[in-house]
Symmetry: C2
Subunit: 224 residues, 2 copies
């Protein structure tokens, strides 16, 4: 099963076609999850999530009525071990066993939240699911990789791709991309930006330890 | 000497009063640095940077004239070992020996660039300067800490503060904040969001290894 999730990050960072993405997911019968105010945005588009996670403190009394209609509502714990986002990720991946989880609203705004949304995938509870997860905003796509060998696929519209080891890595190599890397090992995180696909051709990465983060990226007209 | 730098991140993420910040820095005689298009923004405000770093490929012919007036122009290398941002950080901290470097335009947009702007401070060339650096956008302030004991100061307007170990850490403690942490050790990065100051009171952190990132953060009205 596929799943899509809307977190609480600012709407300015969402992809332009976000409403269509969730509409298509609903029609296809994918699992739909939302955290806190994400629930209200989906409602505005007449989409009822299957799962909602949060304390919903920011919702007004009449806004909370929607929670009665959501099949699976999971309230945040007063003393939180997990943030709402982390609880949502675990619900989708560990409880619902979804094959892939596409996450929107994870970037921008409060960047302490953003950092949790990235680094939580190093935790033992979640790191076994990293290959199933994708974070998407209007300008970037984040993918995680566990040790192994992967074909990195060209994605239309994304000129750049950066790679980083989020923890200790061993023998990280990038082959047949614009900039190659050969058996790079490091005890601490590093990030290499602005790599490119040669003639839109897929290329290969491989490494023996750690989690690698790939960020597909593109320039957009961004100056006021 | 104090320094302020404007990088190439999107202007929507800059603090509201950015023009005033650079104007005040100029009047105070602080070192002003810019990377690539940051140079043009400063020019628009009639501020000439002391140092510009970049390939300036994105500048039109007449726009490049400003480079003649800048005392220290450092061109990117064709085969880059450093990104423009990294070259700028090194120039300010290692060449100009500035005491503090306040960095704007480091967040948002292409997040492969953003990740370089964070993780570069783990590199041996830059990690000895981490305590002198601050990254600022409209909603967040990033500060880095090397091993030791620090008073974390309340900043007006920032309700939240998150902490993370960007690499292996030993005995990381947070004392007298809303949520305490006691002798946390980890081989890989973790991030703890949404901590708070109790009654606006400063609190303490201490740790024995690694680099800790603090993100001061606030909610802003962010929904369309």
């Amino acid at each position: 099963m596929q799943a899509v999730a809307l977190l609480g990050g600012p709407s300015e960072q969402w992809p332009e076609n976000i409403e269509q993405i969730f509409r298509d997911a609903k029609i296809a019968g994918h699992l739909i999850l939302a955290s806190d105010r994400g629930t209200l945005f989906l409602k505005r588009w007449d989409i009822l999530p299957d799962v909602a996670v949060g304390d919903f403190d920011s919702l007004k009394k009449d806004e909370k009525l929607i929670l009665n209609d959501i099949p699976d509502v999971r309230y945040s714990q007063p003393i939180k071990n997990y943030t709402d986002s982390e609880q949502l990720f675990l619900t989708a991946l560990a409880d619902y066993h979804v094959d892939n989880l596409f996450i929107y609203g994870a970037t921008g705004g409060r960047l302490d939240h953003f950092f949790v949304n990235i680094f939580t995938f190093l935790r033992p509870e979640l790191c076994r699911f990293v290959n199933q997860v994708e974070l998407v905003d209007k300008q970037n796509v984040f993918k995680f990789y566990s040790p192994g060998k992967y074909l990195i696929k060209y994605r239309s519209g994304y000129k750049y791709i950066g790679f980083g080891n989020l923890e200790k890595t061993i023998d990280f190599s990038i082959l047949d991309a614009r900039y190659e890397l050969n058996n790079f090992s490091s005890e601490y995180p590093n990030f290499f930006s602005s790599n490119e696909f040669i003639n839109h051709k897929d290329f290969e990465i491989k490494f023996k330890a750690g989690i690698i983060l790939a960020i597909y990226s593109k320039d957009i007209n961004r100056y006021r």
